[in-house]
Symmetry: C2
Amino acid sequence: MNIGIVGLGLIGGSLGLDFRSQGHRVFGISRKAQTCERAIALGAADDASTNLSLMGQAEVIFICTPLSVMEATVLELIPHLQPDTILTDVGSVKGWVVQAISPHWHNFVGGHPMAGKSESGIEVAEHNLFAGCPYVFTPTEKTPPAALKAVEELVQRLDARIYHCPPDEHDRAVAWISHLPVMVSASLIAACRGENDTSVLKLAKALASSGFRDTSRVGGGNPELGVMMARYNTEALLRSLYAYRDQLDQVIDHVKQEDWQSLKALLQQNSDVRPDFVKN
Amino acid sequence: MNIGIVGLGLIGGSLGLDFRSQGHRVFGISRKAQTCERAIALGAADDASTNLSLMGQAEVIFICTPLSVMEATVLELIPHLQPDTILTDVGSVKGWVVQAISPHWHNFVGGHPMAGKSESGIEVAEHNLFAGCPYVFTPTEKTPPAALKAVEELVQRLDARIYHCPPDEHDRAVAWISHLPVMVSASLIAACRGENDTSVLKLAKALASSGFRDTSRVGGGNPELGVMMARYNTEALLRSLYAYRDQLDQVIDHVKQEDWQSLKALLQQNSDVRPDFVKN
């Protein structure tokens, strides 16, 4: 099959590597000529260009750009497409993306491969990045079943774990397990660095170890990504943030009232339930 | 030197292993005869007993029991001590411990070795557990300098990084980097498991990956430990919890107001500052 990939970063590049090794022809697009050259050199694309006309020969196209330019990219892309080209995206928010792209192109399938690394860019693209990872499809009643089937057959061969759900359900789920943790963790770092007793702050920095390291990791990550989550998943994120604040207030109340029995019950339930979330 | 260790768990056992390998004689105490036998068999003690009279020959004694029984242990221990025996403890909270023990024994040095593992007990004790880890001493004006010096000389040979500070400064620092993260992380798990849309909850559990795993780790740990932190460091923990809630409210406000510039500035500062906390 002729597969197009628009946006040759970690995700786009890794898709290209896998698809080529399965015998597909892969055509890549990047805004930078240098990235196109690297994608070809690394084996992530057979051909690559800064010019969207290359997409004229693609049967299925994966949009792998940042969310902020996804709609504009699709609008620029449309004049170059065959009437039956299938578009799919890899955005980490689905309600907004599906709403933005569906009106422009009927043969569209919303998707979200949940694989990542701390580094980004074509240089860190790798084979089998998606193996064992979730890949969520968010078809709506307007999604052509044949388009979904075509994309799904490609993704199945990446050995990803495929899920289906409505876009808003996806967004509420990732708000809990991906976007809320970033804000919770960010607030932790921000609160700690706000300590105004310099001796205590210095000591805290010296003594911090694995507990702080893990709890603060996602809150100390790429600021652009954090803003993007909040910007494109505002409603679901706020819903989770409010529930989280209520929960935090309850914990504060247990501590303030010295209600150790309730605090212990809460921690025990956490300890019992957490394995359901981290079994993968 | 004759060293006593009361409480033969991970910390007490690991101290015993290191001290014995440096040529000291180590005498251990456990409530369980079986633990005494295991401590001797594993090389963590030359002799061990359930009877505190064994401590009569110790020059320096490390109290390695849980915080909840530390004061009672010291009271039982006192009749067996020589007048110049030095006591030191390894409790993770210092204000409460120093206040509880100092009135009973003048030759006392508060200490906190910040090494740990997810497992506990004599079976997981190991050589060099403290190497490279912080070891905080919290002397007060009542602490005899000679007692501090004696304990410090022992700890230096464990290759730990030694810090000194007043007990309340220690407690405020560990509230930030150890106790607050547990409550922040616990509230995250509790909020997530409170989702009442079962489809979203099921999906969240299926999709959770490294971000959720790391941010939820310390909040899904041993409930007893979490309660102990709150119970013995209540004031400093509440101080951090209130500051954290203010910070969280600010994040919520940025998201609600769609003030992406402020959110990005906050995340950028986090990303700039976090390495100061996690450099070790």
